[in-house]
Chain length 203, copies 2
DNA sequence: CCACTTGTAGACGCCAAAGTATATATGTGT
DNA sequence: ACACATATATACTTTGGCGTCTACAAGTGG
């Protein structure tokens, strides 16, 4: 909402659209931003290129100047989101900073975060792009749990569950308005601890 | 290998496909079974009628003798899955039998259960069908939590999280090979208790 | 035996959405 | 000033999947 005035006597034509010109790399990023928002609403299949063009305030033709196809664009979106999360989390799987890092990543790119873990992880054609995460997390959880829990179905169960629950807790934290990241990390850590406790043999 | 006798001298034609005939109501159920399996793999958009027909070992034409459209079939699948879950759980939200009931429902119809809570709940056009569940669960969780936790973002956070985590734990239990339902209920209850504890004010 | 139901087989129309093409306009750097 | 990159606008083609139709085959019950 903004300018668009200073005439009043002019003809009934629109004053002239601003036509924001950006250099190629910047425009590409801006398209990725818009596409991330659009895809985050409904996932790959349910989002049309027109939706994305509208979100980016561009024509569909421009999308093809930057990306070969819808799938190519989607991959670029997921790649960028993945890289961002990876940059925050680093190799620090399960260290003390892992959960705070996830919270930082989610806060820095909430749409990308939600897109990755609510939609892309369920889309057969694209889940491979984030499966490295899922697999690594399960792997690490499995190794850590194995020091306290005997091998068996309950170990597998907890190793599957811990990454999932952590991510859901982070997303719920986004939805709740991102209160106090420090407390959030502590509370989520507590939940994870609770899952580990629940996976121990009954006795 | 079987009957269809006296070949050997006959022409090279295939012995003749059995062609299983069922009465209308049974066929309908069989189609719903197959469609549930097919949709459970990739959700609504990514599943074609051909996939479903193949899964049901039928032609696409037959699907239209029983359902008006793809959306109609999907709704029927979701409805049935919903009813099954509702029958197990009943009005027993948050009672001692709630989690065992969920486990029974998941074991009785694992594909339907996964379809409902992994896919349908994220599909804008269909989430309404199960939103009653989600809303009711959040509602109940919210009310129960409010007795121990002051209103605020952490209450909302936990109320959102508890139903989600419970369902994820049930699905992970399916994936882990459904070990000992009694223990599973207890362990999941313990996790939920842990979430409630984690949502209390820090002190 | 006949009517009816259940089934196959496959061609076809249709439509939405992806992807292509062309003509034109205008900031920007050199 | 000029070339080029960035952008619009719109019309067009292609494609994939839904939905329809017709013709035929075979099991079942009165």
């Amino acid at each position: 909402m903004s300018d668009r005035e200073a005439e009043g006597t002019g003809p009934a034509t629109v004053p002239a659209p601003p036509v924001r010109r950006l250099r190629r790399a910047e425009r590409r990023e801006q398209i990725l931003d818009a596409a991330t928002r659009a895809f985050a609403r409904a996932g790959y299949a349910a989002t049309g290129l027109d939706d994305i063009a509208a979100e980016a305030e561009l024509t569909r033709a421009m999308l093809y100047r930057h990306f070969d196809s819808k799938a190519d664009l989607y991959r670029a979106v997921l790649d960028r989101a993945c890289v961002r999360v990876a940059e925050e989390v680093g190799a620090d799987d399960f260290g003390d900073d892992a959960i705070p890092a996830l919270l930082r990543a989610a806060a820095a790119d909430p749409d990308g975060f939600r897109l990755l873990f609510r939609h892309a992880s369920r889309e057969p054609d694209f889940r491979e792009l984030i499966d490295s995460f899922a697999a690594a997390s399960r792997e690490v959880a499995h190794r850590n749990l194995a020091r306290h829990i005997p091998a068996g179905p309950w170990l597998d169960w907890a190793a599957d569950l811990i990454p999932t629950i952590t991510l859901e807790a982070v997303i719920a934290w986004l939805d709740a308005g991102r209160p106090d990241p420090g407390q959030a990390a502590e509370r989520i850590g507590q939940i994870v601890h609770g899952v580990m406790a629940a996976a121990r043999p009954t006795g």
